[in-house]
């Protein structure tokens, strides 16, 4: 399905440097043409690229799933863009600073017309090294954006001391240890680190090792949004695991922002990989376990007010 148009979602709190990053992406000589969905015209725009204004209309799907919200405007815009296929190579969706990334991400799973023609590539979050600590205290949106990210651009590192930088990085890691984190000044980064990430491709969810250096890593267990992970050193029983995980996201989906897992199913030579956004789960058998590789099962949840013990108990009960 490589002919699907990749979509990068760019989030970040007000003033973090989102527009700077976007302009940098657009102005680099990469030879690609983008369709850019923005909320305000004026600040963005490079000849050759198609800039579209959006209203950020978040709609509830009327399917009994309380947190299945989608961006109605995005469905329309993508429908319109797809009629002019060939005029651009990728789509970038910039959200407002106060936006919750979930409805944007969910749009790519819930709407068939959108998901048949485009694929979500990654959620990229720009955060401000100087102000993030404050924002995490007073703005739940900022916390959601960090929790949701596949790639975090920790920007304006020149405005803080090395100690302050380590502290803010530790705070990010307490919420989301799995995102790729890049330290930048003036959002200067190789765009290959931002685009073409395939973060939602099950074949790419190969490892779930936290992406951080031990050095300077502090545990901040006071965050209400955090990540938890659990491992079974062997196989799980799919007849136990599937109902458990489906039930879990039905019950706790509002609190679970992102989920991922790589599992060894009893008697199955291939890995089962899943990833999810709130109540939506996407899973499939992917590559074989390699000869000599240790079969083990690991799941990760990033969310709000997660009950670590109940989750652990539930998951361990799925062991084969």
């Amino acid at each position: 399905m490589s002919d699907k148009i990749p979509v990068t979602v760019l989030t970040g709190y007000l003033g973090a440097g989102k527009t700077t990053l976007l302009n940098r992406i657009l102005s680099e000589p990469h030879g690609k043409k983008f369709a850019v969905v923005v909320n305000e015209f004026g600040e963005v725009g490079i000849d050759n690229d198609l800039v579209v204004g959006a209203d950020e209309e978040v709609f509830e799907m009327n399917n009994g799933c309380i947190c299945c919200t989608v961006r109605g405007d995005l469905i329309r815009i993508i429908d319109g863009l797809m009629k002019r296929k060939g005029q651009f190579d990728a789509i970038i969706v910039e959200t407002t600073g106060l936006a919750d990334p979930a409805p944007v991400a969910q749009t790519f799973f819930m709407d068939e017309d959108v998901s048949s023609k485009t694929r979500l590539d990654a959620v990229v979050t720009v955060v401000d090294a100087k102000w993030l600590t404050e924002r995490l205290k007073d703005a739940p949106e900022a916390k959601n954006q960090v929790a949701f990210a596949d790639v975090i651009i920790l920007n304006k590192t020149d405005l803080v001391t090395p100690e302050e930088l380590s502290a803010v990085e530790a705070q990010i890691r307490a919420i989301n240890p799995y995102a790729k984190l890049h330290r930048t000044q003036r959002a200067s980064i190789d765009i290959a680190e931002v685009l073409g990430r395939n973060a939602f491709d099950l074949d790419r969810v190969l490892e779930l090792e936290p992406d951080f250096l031990e050095e300077g890593h502090h545990h901040h267990h006071d965050e209400d949004v955090k990540s938890v992970s659990f491992t079974i050193p062997g196989d799980v029983d799919p007849a136990k695991f599937m109902p458990w995980v489906n039930d879990l996201v039905q019950q706790e989906g509002a609190n679970i922002l992102r989920s991922k897992g790589i599992l060894a199913f009893q008697g199955e030579p291939k890995r089962f990989v899943f990833q999810g956004v709130h109540m939506i789960l996407d899973g499939d058998l992917t590559q074989d376990w390699k000869p000599g590789e240790k079969r083990q099962s690991k799941i990760v949840f990033i969310g709000r007010n997660l009950d670590r013990e109940a989750l652990n108990k539930g998951f361990l009960a799925c062991a084969a």
């Binding site: 579209v52 204004g53 709609f59 009327n62 109605g72 329309r76 319109g80 009629k83 002019r84 068939e112």
Partner: protein
């Protein structure tokens, strides 16, 4: 996948191919000419012998199109609403600076309506403009058959608005996102296509709700029979045709005609007979007679989904266009 048996009789030799050159957004017959609205901002006018291209949206793209009298109304990503006449001349009818036009529709006596985001505007045949702000983005528009009244589909329902009066607009509420709207020819029923792969309807006499569900995808095309007794719909692997005769559709099952292993993309009832043109996502076009469900093949599968389908007023000719920029004009053998 198995292919359904082809209809015994083919009318494919009566089709004249049309090279549109870009995704066909919509089409309308303007007298003897079919006008194809194209995603590249142009309109192709053809009677099957001669073709002319005009560019009502130079440098832009057409997003939506509808017929209004003897003109084709197009709305573009340039924010413009343009009327194109059969001779190829065009006139700007409206402009929403920096916006995309989300919906257009045509009414009687040259009236048109369009929307961009929450902004809805009507322009009557004399050029009188009226504006309304919908509660959320207006995704579908349809004039009511009687009076100067517009049905506006939006999130959580439909608003019925009289542009020429100060009367409070009437709101038909139903939770969810309504993508398109149509009104029965007798004005008794308002039906919407929803994000959740279903239709919703209201009987205006008693405001009773109707839910028509079971579609595997969104319904993009709705067409009333000439007598108003049937509503044909796309979105399933058959044309789903709901009964709207005296009893109404409540508690009754729809007819399923033209069952094939691919989804119906467009439907268009013949303007004078109970014959439905049903066009599929694989490019197949069939004619289906409702009385005995017999089928005639107009076009074999091409691989490209049909995106526009329309009869001329006499019912002699049918035009169709697809996502790959091809199309055809079919004339019933006399």
């Amino acid at each position: 996948m198995t292919l359904a048996p082809a209809p015994s009789q083919s009318l494919a030799e009566h089709v004249v191919a049309v090279e549109a050159g870009a995704h066909v957004i919509g089409l309308a017959w303007l007298g003897p000419k079919a006008a194809f609205a194209l995603a590249d901002g142009r309109v192709l006018l053809t009677d099957g012998r001669e073709a002319a291209r005009v560019a009502p949206h130079p440098g832009g793209g057409i997003l939506v199109a509808a017929r209004a009298g003897d003109t084709l109304i197009t709305g573009g990503d340039d924010g413009r609403v343009v009327a194109t006449a059969p001779d190829g001349t065009s006139a700007e009818r409206g402009k929403e600076q920096g916006r995309w036009i989300d919906a257009v529709t045509g009414g009687r006596d040259g009236a048109i309506a369009w929307s961009a985001g929450k902004t809805v505007r009507t322009r009557d045949g004399k050029g009188q403009l009226r504006s309304f702000t919908a509660p959320t983005t207006a995704q579908g528009l349809a004039f009511m058959p009687k009076g100067y009244r517009l049905a506006i589909a939006h999130y959580n329902g439909v608003t019925l608005w009289f542009p020429n009066t100060d009367a409070t607009p009437d709101v038909l509420a139903w939770k969810g996102s309504h993508l398109g709207v149509t009104v029965s020819p007798d004005g008794q029923y308002v039906v919407t296509a929803m994000q959740e792969n279903s239709l919703h309807g209201w009987r205006l006499s008693d405001r009773k709700d109707m839910r028509m569900s079971g579609y595997p995808s969104k319904t993009r095309s709705l067409s009333w029979s000439h007598d108003g007794n049937w509503l044909a719909t796309s979105g399933a692997e058959a044309a789903i045709i709901w009964p709207f005769d005296k009893q109404g559709p409540m508690g009754r099952a729809p007819r399923e005609c033209g069952v094939r292993p691919v989804r119906v993309a467009r439907v268009a009832f013949h303007p004078r007979a109970l014959v439905l043109a049903s066009a599929y996502e694989d490019g197949t076009v069939l004619l289906i007679r409702l009385t005995d469900a017999s089928e005639l093949l107009v076009q074999n599968a091409t691989g490209a989904s049909i995106t526009a389908l329309a009869w001329d007023d006499s019912g002699r000719s049918l035009a169709f266009g697809d996502e790959a920029g091809n199309g055809g004009l079919f004339t019933l053998p006399s």
